[in-house]
Symmetry: C2
Subunit: 268 residues, 2 copies
């Protein structure tokens, strides 16, 4: 079981074609990964409870990926079973007209969770330097400035008590083809099939290159990116579960001490 | 009529005790200032209409001042008579518990107006490096980091199409005393009298020094501070009206051209 999150070093060039998308091992490895993912889940649950009880810091988990990269599945795989009162999942779809009338960080900032909570972002402000860039929705000089905004925005969040974890779910061109074919073949998955995904697939290289820029320019000491090999869902989920629990253990949230002398409390 | 907004140069030390709070001239000067303020008002109105019609950029006008400095009066004096659909006034009072559970810019960003609008902020994110600092509500290292956050936040807003105008209404220690006395003497002004203002008056020097830091560290090429001599309300309003109209003239908002050939339109 060697599938692990790959940390992007701040300022270092990233070559996605040299980073693994696949996991090692077959059926046995899968059974083991699934079992170990489940065996860690109670720790995630208990850490989330402690974060909530502490109420001083918050956690934001960002998921970005190519189409069919597994964002929905990763959110489900990681956060199912947690107290839903402590987890706030936001899927950032195409912006509304009210959102477009504001700066691109306006709707993002609004969804930053309060202290004590875990905010899960399925897509994020990074679309404003990814899809927006590849589809040429704004002039070059507009999206180029945004790397700096984003780093400053995330720095502010971290200074004010948030922890940011950013996962890029890394799949191969071939895996995307297979998954799109599956969606077409399975009527229960038709609702997920968007012809626009085919259009975006034609721009695979442009997206990979835009992602490389994001991973290089927005991996900061305060909010680094992590690449998750994601061709196999079980390996992806195992790597994510492991990494997220490690992050929360590092935060070591502590419920505040009792505000009264417990030995004197009498329940009548 | 020499009362004018004083522009703070980015990075330059500010000595508030060397900047005027008073205006020249007596009764005649006042009559002239009031008349000229009113004669400019239609320009402000027309510029606001053009900004709205253009719908591409927005304007944020920030007011900060010591207690009794005239923020409410300035907002009334400047924006009364404009189309209220194009103006959004926000008074940032003490934060709610939901606001306190987020970073200090969260509630501010939420109130950034959409493009086409004028947002008027009576107090602002600057309280988080002013009152919060003087009242020691957070450790020193926390508010010190905020100057950088604020500059980056404002840079992002400007890059994305907003114009920021920041006015510090500058009054003397003596003017504050007189105005607090007036509030006490006039029952119709009692609702404005807050005993906490007396507490803050005791910290006058600490506040002036905190303001000096703000004017020095957060006057940027993209969003400079302006000091308005504000001991006399008529002079203050004249200086503000003049300056704001100049800012909007500089923006030169233009309604978009007709999207159809007007000569072919027939109303049946």
């Amino acid at each position: 079981m060697k599938t692990k999150a790959i940390l992007c070093s701040p300022g270092k060039k990233v070559r996605l074609d040299r980073l693994p998308t696949d996991a090692e091992g077959g059926g046995e490895a899968k059974a083991e990964a699934v079992e170990r993912t489940e065996s860690i889940r109670p720790q995630l649950r208990s850490l989330q409870e402690r974060l909530y009880a502490e109420g001083k810091r918050g956690l934001i988990v960002v998921f970005q990926a190519m189409d069919t990269g597994g964002k929905d599945g990763a959110v489900r795989g990681l956060f199912t079973g947690l107290d839903p009162a402590g987890v706030q999942v936001t899927g950032f779809k195409g912006p509304t007209s009210a959102e477009l009338a504001h700066d691109y960080l306006w709707r993002i900032h609004a969804m930053v969770p309060p202290r004590g909570m875990i905010g899960v972002w399925n897509r994020s402000h990074y679309e404003d330097v990814l899809a927006v860039r590849v589809r040429k929705l704004v002039p070059d000089e507009v999206w180029r400035r945004r790397f700096e905004h984003i780093n400053a925005f995330e720095k502010m969040l971290v200074d004010e008590g948030m922890v940011l974890v950013k996962y890029f779910l890394h799949i191969s061109h071939d895996t995307q083809r297979k998954r799109l074919e599956e969606r077409l073949a399975d009527p229960s998955k038709h609702w997920k099939f968007d012809p626009a995904d085919l259009e975006d697939r034609l721009h695979w290289d442009a997206y990979q290159s835009a992602y490389q820029d994001v991973l290089e320019k927005c991996s900061t000491p305060w909010a680094p990116w992590k690449v998750i090999p994601a061709d196999r869902k079980w390996a992806r989920n195992f790597a994510l579960m492991n990494d997220l629990v490690e992050v929360l253990q590092g935060m070591d949230p502590k419920p505040p001490p009792a505000r009264f002398d417990l030995s004197r409390v009498v329940i009548r």
